[in-house]
Symmetry: C2
Subunit: 151 residues, 2 copies
């Protein structure tokens, strides 16, 4: 499903120009889905927290208050729908939802299933270093497929 | 302004029973405002990141997908309004918005103004340890007052 593009692109933004977000196909192994105003992809280097997903707004904006209320509502509904699918897939004890944008200033959610087995389940994942877990394209594809089945 | 209570309380939840959230007055030095469905208070131990604010849902819920869509919309509009006020007060380079709930499983935003002078402005604040900055009640009260002026 190709949803609408909320707003314009920004030519020097790494997300705006990345084919994984520009191309509406699901060909990329890490891509989960195109939701109403945003695109869901599995985190490339964060799968130590299995299911770690980025949900990237289509079109460029930096802050929640830069969006018009209706686009903001859709962006949050996309995040809610995806978080629910992640919860049904991975049965976490808690979901974490973060809009940071410190490195790439393009609105995107970090959606992170948290587990009792995390190094410190009561604290933000960034407080302890965690390894970069390398998954194969097949692993990514099958995880994306499984999550998609719960959307 | 006393907004509505979105949903019921939970008797063993530290936020549900805390007077700073139960009492609708602004008497507490750290309290910024009662917004439509949530209450804004300055973080007690996180003022190393000056302006660090918690926005706590009135009534108990754990996950975004546990809220009905209209309460969720209001909760996000509250966060957006407050983030905009924090941005006007502190002129950060970026706002960070996190729903974690790993320690207290009651929906609340961490709203964090980020600055060039942060230890690592490109990374989440939790990646480097930061000191617990002790502010006086007067300091809290004047900061809360200043933010309130931008709401």
């Amino acid at each position: 499903m190709q949803g609408e593009v909320a707003i314009g692109e920004k030519q020097d933004c790494p997300f705006c120009v990345n084919p994984i977000f520009k191309d509406s196909s699901l060909d990329h192994p890490r891509k989960i889905a195109e939701l109403e105003v945003s695109t869901a992809v599995l985190g490339r280097t964060e799968q130590y927290f299995r299911g770690y997903t980025l949900l990237v707004l289509r079109g460029h904006a930096t802050e929640l208050f830069d969006l018009d209320p209706e686009t903001r509502r859709k962006f949050v509904e996309d995040a809610t729908r995806l978080a629910s699918a992640l919860a049904e897939t991975f049965h976490p004890i808690k979901m974490n939802y973060c809009l940071l944008g410190n490195t790439v200033e393009h609105l995107h959610w970090h959606l992170i299933p948290r587990r009792h087995t995390d190094p410190d389940p009561k604290r933000p994942i960034w407080e302890s270093p965690f390894p970069n877990v390398q998954l194969s394209d097949d692993d990514f594809q099958s995880m994306a497929h499984e999550i998609r089945g719960h959307l």
